[in-house]
Point group: C2
Chain length 448, copies 2
Amino acid sequence: MSLDSFFNPESIAVIGASEDPKKLGYEVFKNLLDFGEKIYPVNKNEEEVLGEKAYKNVSEIEDAVELAVIIVPAEYVPEVIEDFGKNGGKAAVIITGGFREAGREELEKEVLNVAEKHGVRIIGPNTAGVQNTHNRLKATFTREAKKGKIAFLSQSGALGGAMIYKTSARNIGLSKFVNVGNMVDVDFSDLLGYLDGDETTDAIAIYMEGVRKGKKFLNSAKQCSKPIIVLKGGKSESGSKATYSHTGSMAGSPRVYDGIFRQAGIITADSFEEMFAMARAFGQPTPRGNKVAILTNAGGGGVLLSDKIDKHGLQLADLDERTKEELREALPPIASVKNPIDTIASARGKEYEKSVSVIMEDDNVDILIVVHVIPTFTGMSKVEHAEGVIDAVKEKKAVKPIVTSFLADDIAEDSRELLENEGIPCYNSLEAAASGAYALYKYSTGRN
Amino acid sequence: MSLDSFFNPESIAVIGASEDPKKLGYEVFKNLLDFGEKIYPVNKNEEEVLGEKAYKNVSEIEDAVELAVIIVPAEYVPEVIEDFGKNGGKAAVIITGGFREAGREELEKEVLNVAEKHGVRIIGPNTAGVQNTHNRLKATFTREAKKGKIAFLSQSGALGGAMIYKTSARNIGLSKFVNVGNMVDVDFSDLLGYLDGDETTDAIAIYMEGVRKGKKFLNSAKQCSKPIIVLKGGKSESGSKATYSHTGSMAGSPRVYDGIFRQAGIITADSFEEMFAMARAFGQPTPRGNKVAILTNAGGGGVLLSDKIDKHGLQLADLDERTKEELREALPPIASVKNPIDTIASARGKEYEKSVSVIMEDDNVDILIVVHVIPTFTGMSKVEHAEGVIDAVKEKKAVKPIVTSFLADDIAEDSRELLENEGIPCYNSLEAAASGAYALYKYSTGRN
């Protein structure tokens, strides 16, 4: 069975839906009302939930129910799954906690056995839930993520939720969100298989503390044709101990994980910021090598970014003599046409267009990074440089990847929006831009 | 002569002030009008600038002029300094570019000679200028920084300006801003000496590409009693080459700089984000050691933060048995009272207060980090956990340093403001919190 029932169900039962705004069953049911009409509240003690007729059991529902979202106390979960499975249910998101993580592994096993008997797949238990932004399915108590192209899988519910707030605030769109919970059934491997075939997903970002079946994960990651970026928790001695108290599972030797990640061509990130910076870079042409050209109006930005790309194993491209000649013609006389190319502050949008265009044609360049500091004193338009970059990219039909970093937070917002709308990632920091460029390169080589 | 004339002058002449909004002389003069009354525009071709009577030369000004801000073309700078010096001028910020960085080292030397003859000190040339947020002095064409306790010195004008936007957008306050420019006279060393005696400065943050007088810098850094945090551009091979094209000076061997930084007890940062995260941590009690307690309502946050502190050479504290006992009493039954302490999501503000209070009394703990994920489902107030932390800190009169990370961007803003107002740094990422804690520790050991 495909996991599609989790993300595109025909109908949903919320078992444990509640009228009490302090309960998770209230939040979850309310969140699901955006999805569509076939949402059924199930609660033994209620006649109605939020104006919808409530059912005592799934078996009472006239319609076939494809997905169940379960928020009843742990001890009732097996019988709920039994009822759901007997009535043709296909997938269950078990939000309820109090299983393995509370020492009740037996109960968790029982849930799995009942589910397997009926062919019901499970996400959870102890999960914050699932979202599909492309049909507004929110089987979760967390906030709705912005629609986008990154699938985000998290082994921490609380951090997963926090990252939904963070990505939303920073205009980073997600395609799917899954907090995997205790992974009694559906695990990272299964989800990789599903997401590989998901058209709305360009890249898969994972916060992982540990996997139980290393070989299964390695195989599914190897088979997945999309970029996978992993932030691994518990990489250090202290972190590994902390993982143990958190999920009761060993984080495992960092070296074992490093080996799996390397073999599978997985890109590893060091922070959530870096993970999303990397994931956002995709949807671009694939670079043929690791040679980077930097175009900037801030000399210091060229210096710092050079340090950052060096750290990632990328190199400054030696520009072709003809490129330098054309840049010399295009730019102000005191501009530096040696890579990093410093246009100096007086260069305008048209000069950016010409420069990007020239650099894109240089065979020595595999990736272009534009580092821009909004000029505050020359009467230039705030967005003319972004427009220049976009015009050049359109003209050249984006033959090579380009990432940009428009520094200066708030006043760069308009430029960022213009660039992102054209599929050109625009970062708020040099480090993020370097990570994005690195991810593109790493993905292109990891697949060879 | 103290450098105070740059930051607290009695009177200022803007030489090259202009009525033309496209010129730097317009921006600079306009910016300075906020400072006070004794601001005199000097321009040979104007009668008035922005409604103020313009002077042909400094010598025409009736009043004594302490500070000159110079924006006339490079070739006129020597005679301008001559006129200014003869009339008792003390300090000049030379914004004008086109000196050493354009191959005109002779002209730069001439400027220095004239200045020395008259005892005039110089910041620049080729500088974006100087700000003192505590008296609203803005001898610069960039935006006004927010008032605060971090002195920020930058060797890049464009990045310096961009960071003023960035710190403002993120509510990070600066005490002084100096873009050092070509450092023909006043250099990092002089500024360290001055800032050490500046009451409005708690920490000194520097973006540095290179210093010419290594020994002088080492000595002044050693003598400076305040924390110095340096972000060094040109640390890698690529970056070093880029530095050369940027400022024409060698970045120098990374190992030489590492040696200087280590000997001087300087804290090094890897990015602007980290530099400001570190600088913001100060104004706290000094930690006695490297043992960290983590209090969190997100297990995954405890795991990732443990990795981060480990990377910085900090360690998880072994909590005293009595502490664990008291935490067990204070927190929900399934909370984990082993460090990292996981309060679980249902813990409320009062429980945070009690926990912080108990942890602060544990002699095994040197630094406390609170990692908080705003709960989105339990009807709790968004700020009660921040209030709990604040109450505990007040009660204990802040005997040990505490840093916090309230994740989730926008909805955490209110909590962040409350904490910051009480002098408790509150970061938007785990990495920043770890960097802040590390900086406090490093400063405490670097001074031994």
